[in-house]
């Protein structure tokens, strides 16, 4: 009986190298399917999809300016994406990146507008520290609730996101609102707290360097250190890690706090590099996009740079596509969702084939 099972299994096993290629191609297939579905939306709008996607490409990478804009959007997507990677590797799903970056933005704005007389280096470092602290603190409670009490972290972080976004609205319309200003916004950050632009004639700021550094550090920590090994072990199998002498609960909480800190830095960098002050809706949902960014990169910190750029360019290009063709930006979400479904879906296909075959055999 056991023998028959093995043979049946062998029948639909794809060769290992083919499997590898297939796996690497998955994100691309996912994106293509998403783009195809997006074409339906575009067609429904009465626009030629080829024309619309050309406009999207033009807007995304058509000129130095557009390319820089795509990179600017890559920064928060990459940082929040890393936040998702770090927590997910430890078996916690941090959907709270959006809320963490919102609260961190408040912290950064406070440090950036209230403390004066520091040199740029010190002021920027202090702001980043505040952002990381604020984000980390926000992630601490959900981390403990999940690891020690078995709560569902998705619900907790999601509810917190709504509260955080409303809280930012409250702050910029109330206590932090700049005096004698019509618009709900805070006072501008002192110049010493702003991130410098790094390419002349564009608004691309130093956050991109920070993203690359944090991404490399995340890679090194996850794959080259004992702590990274612990994180991955816990994420892979919590109970097995426990038998291996790893305090998996503690590891989960620490990973969650680090994740929150990185998400916080994303929010801080967005204020220090792009807006220069706290405003409402400064994030169009980067913390949510981060999930797709992380999953599309197969939770790898280096590949993530590519997937963050892809989504940054997509978002940026879609905005100019909306202006020139009227196709709504929100169709980006459809591409995101389908890409994620395809990437994770592929892992279930062998199981599905097996199931179908067995059903046929029984029939």
């Amino acid at each position: 009986m056991g023998n028959a099972k093995v043979i049946a299994k062998g029948n639909f096993k794809i060769k290992p190298d083919m499997q590898k290629i297939f796996k690497a191609m998955l994100p691309v297939i996912g994106i293509l399917v998403g783009a195809l579905a997006g074409s339906l939306v575009i067609l429904a709008k009465g626009v030629n999809p080829v024309h619309a996607y050309a406009a999207l490409m033009e807007g995304a990478v058509g000129s130095m300016d557009n390319f820089a804009s795509s990179l600017i959007k890559t920064i928060p997507l990459g940082l929040t994406g890393l936040a998702v990677v770090i927590s997910y590797r430890a078996g916690i799903f941090n959907i709270g990146a959006e809320g963490q970056l919102q609260i961190a933005a408040i912290a950064v704005t406070l440090i950036g507008t209230q403390i004066r007389g520091l040199g740029p280096v010190l002021h920027i470092l202090l702001c980043l520290l505040a952002a990381a602290l604020a984000g980390g603190v926000c992630a601490l409670l959900p981390g403990i609730a999940k690891a020690y009490k078995g709560f569902n972290e998705i619900v907790i972080t999601m509810l917190f996101n709504y509260i955080a976004i409303l809280f930012v609205g409250f702050m910029v319309q109330g206590p932090m609102k700049m005096k004698n200003q019509y618009y709900p916004q805070s006072a501008p950050l002192f110049p010493s707290a702003k991130l410098p632009y790094i390419i002349p004639h564009t608004r691309l700021h130093a956050g991109i360097i920070l993203l690359i550094i944090i991404s490399i550090v995340t890679y090194l920590v996850l794959f080259k250190t004992a702590f990274g090994f612990k994180i991955r072990a816990v994420g892979f199998n919590q109970r097995a890690a426990l038998y291996g002498g790893i305090d998996s609960r503690r590891v989960m909480v620490v990973a969650m706090v680090i994740s929150g800190a990185v998400a916080g830095v994303a929010g801080g960098v967005e204020i220090m590099g792009v807006h220069g002050r706290l405003i409402e809706n400064f994030s169009p949902g980067y913390g949510y996009d981060a999930i797709a960014v992380a999953l599309l990169a197969d939770l790898h910190p280096i590949w993530l740079l590519l997937s963050a750029f892809f989504f940054g360019a997509l978002r940026n290009g879609a905005s100019s596509m909306q202006i020139s063709t009227g196709v709504p930006v929100s169709f980006v979400y459809i591409i995101q969702a389908l890409a994620v479904l395809f990437v994770v879906g592929s892992t279930g296909v062998p199981r599905f084939i097996k199931k179908v075959r067995r059903a046929r055999k029984n029939a």
Partner: protein, 313 residues
């Protein structure tokens, strides 16, 4: 200020609006609880409700009939329900990841279609909607009549489903099957229960109810649709189920609490008390969090979120 609030809270209209605002949650909860009890984690409720809200609105707008709108709501939500069921049950994928994708898909589809079908300016759109339906005699009872019997048909459906769901769960073979599949799928399988079928039906049913819940947001009074109109209600419904310890009666109580919180924040805003509007808006979310922490993680179905693999690998 406090006496103003107290005055509002003690009025019948306050409870009438609390019940109305609890209805989207009650409907979603009565569906979601089946999915959860059958062992499939349904965090995609938010997206399903959003689809229901949009398709209910669009269907009602184009046909002029809220009943046809309701049909569209159900179909729209079931698209996501099927994706969720197929991914979680047939493919055995990570149910949390699938739910996240389902929610993003719901958001993307609804806001894209809104702009595609209705153009850029959507501020003045009004569809046909359900009107309150006064039940003869019963609606004349003082206080209770106003609170319970001058509501829309969706409120009545929600109220009737609470005891009905409880009855199905604990008094019928179907309920036993669902609970068995969530607790010990292998044992249920050995007893001849088709685990896959039960789970599929439960997830699809939960999407239907999510669709009705969404429609009760868009076409039962407001008769309009705005981006992300659900604003986290799918997650609040999920929290209500946890609050109710996976029992329909407890979960309904949870939904009522959030309905009251929602009504309270709307009333505080309407009173014109000088506090920033964000504070009352935060109230339902904060209350949900507090209640969740107070109740604790509780006892969930044993095989909640675990795909069933008959080969035991």
């Amino acid at each position: 200020m406090l006496d103003q609030i107290l005055h509002v809270v003690l009025s019948t209209t306050f409870f009438e609006s609390s019940l109305r605002l609890a209805t989207p949650l009650i409907l979603a909860v009565m569906g979601g609880i089946l999915s959860e009890r059958s062992g499939v984690l349904n965090l995609g409720m938010e997206g399903m409700m959003l689809m229901g809200a949009f398709f209910g609105f669009a269907g009602s707008y184009f046909t002029g009939s809220p009943w046809l709108g309701l049909l569209c709501a159900v179909i729209g939500a079931m698209i996501l329900g099927f994706i969720h069921a197929f991914s979680c049950i047939s493919l055995g994928l990570n149910q949390v990841v699938v739910a996240v994708a389902v929610n993003i898909l719901g958001l993307g589809l609804t806001s894209s279609l809104l702009r595609t079908l209705f153009g850029a300016s959507t501020s003045q759109l009004k569809s046909a909607g359900f009107k309150p339906w006064e039940i003869p005699f019963l609606s004349n009872i003082p206080v209770i009549g106003t609170i319970f019997f001058k509501q829309t048909v969706l409120v009545y459906i929600g109220l009737l489903l609470i005891p009905l769901t409880w009855w199905v769960f604990y008094k019928t073979t179907w309920g036993l099957k669902i609970r068995a599949v969530g607790e010990y799928p292998r044992a249920a399988d050995t007893m001849g229960v088709n685990v896959t079928k039960v789970r599929y039906l439960c997830v699809l049913y939960s999407s239907i109810m999510g669709g009705l819940g969404g429609a009760s947001l868009s076409i039962a009074g407001l008769n309009t649709f705005v981006d992300n109109i659900t604003a986290g209600r799918g997650f609040i419904a999920f929290s209500a189920i946890i609050f109710g310890k996976f029992n329909p009666l407890g979960a309904a109580a949870g939904a009522f609490i959030f309905g009251i919180a929602d009504s309270l924040q709307l009333n505080i805003q309407a009173l014109g008390i000088k506090i920033p509007y964000q504070i009352p808006l935060m109230f339902p979310y904060i209350l949900t969090l507090i209640v969740l922490f107070a109740v604790g993680a509780g006892s969930s179905p044993k095989n909640w979120g675990v795909p069933y693999n008959p080969d035991g690998e």
